[in-house]
Every structure is written in C-alpha cells, then in structure tokens.
C-alpha cells in the first residue's frame, strides 16, 4: 500500500494520485516539504525520522540558529564535575549529512500560517506543507521581582544551555567555604521537573568535594512538593547533612524580591544578604515563535492533539517538546524525543501515505544525587480522554541498595549516549 501510493506520487500517475488522496496542494510540487523549527530533542529527532524514514520522498529543512548543540540534560553533571563541557556539546553535521536534511543556520522570526511559510531573521522565507515547531522554553524574566534579563549575569538561571551553564559552574567554583547559595525554584509547569533538585545535589557534591562543607544552599520553592522529593531529601540528609535547606511556600511565606547588585533575596520569612550565588530559575512559557504565531493558549504553552502531536489550532503544524501541553508527560528531552517520533510518523502518513500506528509515548528521567547514587522516574503514555495520559508509571524507592543506584547511574550514562546518537546520528 505504502509503496503503491508513493509510486503514484511521481511520474504520469501524479494527477490520479492527487485526486485519490484529495490533497492537491501537497502533490502539486515535486516533493512535499517539511520545515522544523528548533534543533533540540524534539526538532532534531523529528527532522531525522521524517528524512530517514521517507528515504528522500520528503524534503526536510531544519532551522536552528546555533552552530552546536549543548544538551540541557546532563548539564547538572557538568556542574557537579561528573562530565566535561565537551561531552555535552554536539555538532549537527552528522544529522544533516547522514539523513539528507537541509540545515539552515538562522533564527525563525515569524510563521505566516496563511501562506504556510516560515520567515527567517536573514529574510529568507521557507514554504512548508507541514511545519514542526519545537522551540523549547522562554523564561519569564518578570516572574521574579527585581530580576530581569539584564540581571542574568549577576544571578544566573542556567535553565537554557550554553553560556549560562558555563557561568553557573564558574560562579559555583568561586563560592567561598561558608558562603550562602540561594536557589529560586520555578513554579509548575517547567522544563525538567527533577532538574532543580538534581542541581542542588550536584552543587552540594561539588562544594563538599572542594572541602567547602560549611556552605549552605537555601531553596526557595513556590511549590508545596516536587519531583522525587522523598528520594532527594533522603540523599541530602545522607550525603550533605546541614548543607541543604529546602523551604516550601508555607515556610518562606512567598518570595518578595531579589536584588542582583547586592546578592539579596527577600522572602516573607527571612532576608538572605550577600549571597555568594543566587540561581534564579524563573517561571517558563513556550518559545517566542510559538506564542507569536498564535499556537499557545493563555497558559503560555501550546495545546496539541494527543493522538498525533498536531497543534490544536493549525492542522499543518505540529508542536513538540517543552513548548507543548503534553498532559501527564513531563517536559524532558526524553519526552520530546518520544513525541517527535509520533509526529514524524503522522507527518509521513499525511504526506507520503506511510503506514501509521496508534501513538504511544515513553519517558524516563534519571537524577544523580551523589557519586553512583542515581534515581529514576518514568512512565508509558497514550492518548486518552483528550490528553496524553499515563498508562503506567514508576519511580525509584527510598532505601534502594547501593548496587541498584549504581546500576541506575550506568543506565543514565547509557541513555545519554543513546538519545544523542538517536537525535543527531
């Protein structure tokens, strides 16, 4: 069936094929065109799977402004000294070359949904039959009183990879023994639910390893509870006793303001002055291109059809990863990679009549607490009741054996090698 239809798309039978499929706009040109905005876990995976599995029948263009890809995942391991920076930095060369993807190094500034064109900062317009929007998150700089984009050097977020990751590590290394670190944790929903708490663990590990065990990390959290809470708190007590103090909203009574110039954090409960490092992880929203194109709803994120990842507001657009509202799935690279494969299959189904199957999704997030002590959370998901719903979930338990935790860290490292090869190979 697949083969026969593809044959119809080329050569003398094209007109007959157009009538049969009822989709002349797609068939009027030589090849259907897919444009992908964003070369992260969602976009790179989608571009690869559409190009690879259509074997040249679909023209795929990936729009990504950055020359290299620094993974957000495992950037905490860089912070803790478990990885070097080069090991979380990847090139796009192999992805483009191996799969026949046209890599355009530019920023998408506008989507003309009526004309079905993406407008690039450089002025080029890229026409598409289907568009994949996977821009990740933008930070809500105004969600923390006193903080701003201009203050991200003084109080780094490091919630987007690259220069901020390097800056946070540099600032952490400069914290003196006895210095105070304050983390402003983000409200839901945000990228990488266990991420802030793995980061706290890696900061504490780094300080302890440097003999700076009189340092103290205060966590000002707007949430009453957080991902893998029992596991992290067990680990902090076991390895970093006295170094980490997590404060929920009932205790800190609200974050009132920060002053980047003096390193001050004011809560309803207490004022922290002269902090050696303040890490502000603000509230988040879908990347600007998604919001500016009318793909996001009032939440700041983009509603999708859970059976396909298609935008709820535009049948020619798919939204992946952190920018979309994925129901029970967390915002993670693993989730984005999983969603991208569903979207790629559905897009091939639409454009070249490839066989499609019911959507199914998977996620796992590993978090390193201390050397060889890694925990995980994850699940299997499917479209149900109008959303992506968990059909089965799991989470590590407190009190697991050291052997099991070590094994999980080995899985974590294996997963990283696997997903980066899957996305970019």
């Amino acid at each position: 069936m697949d083969f026969n239809r593809r044959q119809l798309l080329t050569g003398a039978a094209a007109v007959a094929g157009a009538t049969m499929l009822g989709s002349p706009s797609v068939l009027a040109q030589a090849k259907p065109r897919v444009v992908v905005i964003g070369g992260g876990a969602g976009g790179a995976t989608a571009a690869k799977y559409i190009a690879k599995d259509s074997a040249g029948a679909i023209a795929v263009t990936l729009v990504e402004p950055n020359a290299n890809y620094q993974t957000c995942f495992h950037s905490n391991l860089y912070l803790g000294g478990f990885r070097d920076y080069a090991s979380i930095t990847h090139e796009y060369t192999a992805l483009a070359k191996n799969n026949g993807i046209d890599l355009v190094r530019d920023r998408a500034t506008m989507i003309d949904r009526d004309k079905k064109e993406v407008v690039l900062a450089g002025g080029r317009r890229l026409p598409y039959d289907r568009l994949v929007v996977s821009p990740g998150i933008d930070l809500k700089y105004d969600s923390v009183p006193g903080w701003s984009q201009a203050a991200e050097e003084a109080m780094p977020h490091a919630w987007k990879p690259g220069a901020q990751t390097l800056l946070l590590r540099k600032r952490l290394d400069a914290v003196p023994n006895g210095g105070v670190i304050v983390m402003i944790a983000p409200p839901n929903p945000y990228r990488c639910p266990p991420g802030p708490y793995e980061r706290i663990s890696m900061m504490a590990h780094s300080l302890k390893a440097a003999g700076k065990d009189r340092c103290k990390i205060f966590v000002i959290d707007p949430k009453e509870s957080f991902s893998k809470q029992g596991l992290f708190q067990e680990g902090w007590e076991k390895y970093y006793k006295g170094m980490v103090e997590w404060l929920g909203p009932k205790v800190h009574d609200g974050l009132k303001s920060v002053d980047p110039a003096s390193g001050t954090v004011v809560t309803g409960f207490e004022t922290y002055k002269n902090a050696a490092l303040v890490n502000v992880i603000p509230a988040q929203m879908a990347g600007a291109i998604a919001r500016d194109s009318g793909l996001a709803n009032a939440s700041g994120f983009c509603a999708i059809d859970p059976s396909s990842m298609k935008s709820a507001v535009d049948a020619n657009i798919y939204v992946l990863g952190d920018a979309c509202i994925a129901g029970d799935m967390p915002k993670s690279a693993f989730s984005a990679n999983s969603q991208a494969k569903v979207a790629a299959m559905m897009i091939r189904g639409e454009l070249v009549a490839a066989r499609t199957f019911p959507a199914r999704y998977t996620n796992t997030c590993w978090s390193l607490i201390e050397t060889d002590d890694c925990v995980k959370v994850g699940g299997a998901y499917e479209a149900k009741d109008g959303k992506i719903a968990a059909s089965s979930t799991f989470v590590s338990k407190t009190g697991e054996t050291a052997e099991m935790r070590k094994q999980q860290q080995a899985e974590n490292m294996g997963w990283y090698a696997g997903i980066t090869a899957d996305m970019l190979g």
Binding site: S338, T364, G414, W415
Partner: protein, 108 residues
C-alpha cells in the same frame, strides 16, 4: 545481563530462519515500535553504560527476555513498564525488526 556471549554465528542462523520464521513478526510494526527502544539502545549495536545491545538477537530469545520483563521476572522498572504494554504480536514484531539488523561485535 548483556548479550555479548551470543556467538556471531547466531546472526546467520537468524537470517536463515527469518524466511521460515519460528517467530513471524510484522517488521514494519516492529520498526515503528523500535523508536521507543532506540532512545536508549543504539541501532549501531554500541553498548554504553548499562544499556545493552539489542540488535541481532535470535527472535525466540528476544521474545523470552521481553516476556520475562512483562511478567516482572526480570527486575528493571523501565523495561517492565515498556514490555508491560506490548502485546505478544508487538514483541514478535520487535524481535523480527531488531533481530534482522546486522549484528556486529560489541563496541564499548
């Protein structure tokens, strides 16, 4: 457990059996389902950390291992969850897909 003890010869046995097929999985379905496996398990057969190679296994062996996870006889939360929602024909499809991929010596 890794499958590194499997002799290279098993590949040719497998390819020989693919047409006769003691386990006759739908390879196209298997290829789709495989997408969720290859987030961790590399198609190249490369092993990293605790994630083993899953290409080039004899079909029957692949099915037996997946059923052991599905029935929770083997202990891994992720694999139990993945295998738990796979129907028998889906496990066979995966076995057919990964089994037919060229196996190569394990690269660490």
């Amino acid at each position: 457990m890794t499958m590194s003890h499997l002799p290279a010869m098993s590949v040719s046995l497998l390819l020989a059996s693919a047409s006769t097929g003691a386990v006759a999985g739908d390879r196209e379905l298997g290829e789709y389902l495989s997408a969720e496996c290859v987030t961790c398990h590399q198609l190249s057969g490369r092993e990293t950390g605790a994630v083993p190679r899953i290409t080039g296994w004899p079909d029957e062996h692949f099915v037996a291992v997946m059923n052991a996870y599905k029935d929770k006889h083997r202990d891994n939360l992720i694999m139990q969850t993945i295998a738990g929602r796979l129907a028998a024909d889906e496990i066979e499809a995966l076995a057919a897909y990964f089994g037919a991929l060229q196996s190569r010596s394990v690269v660490k």
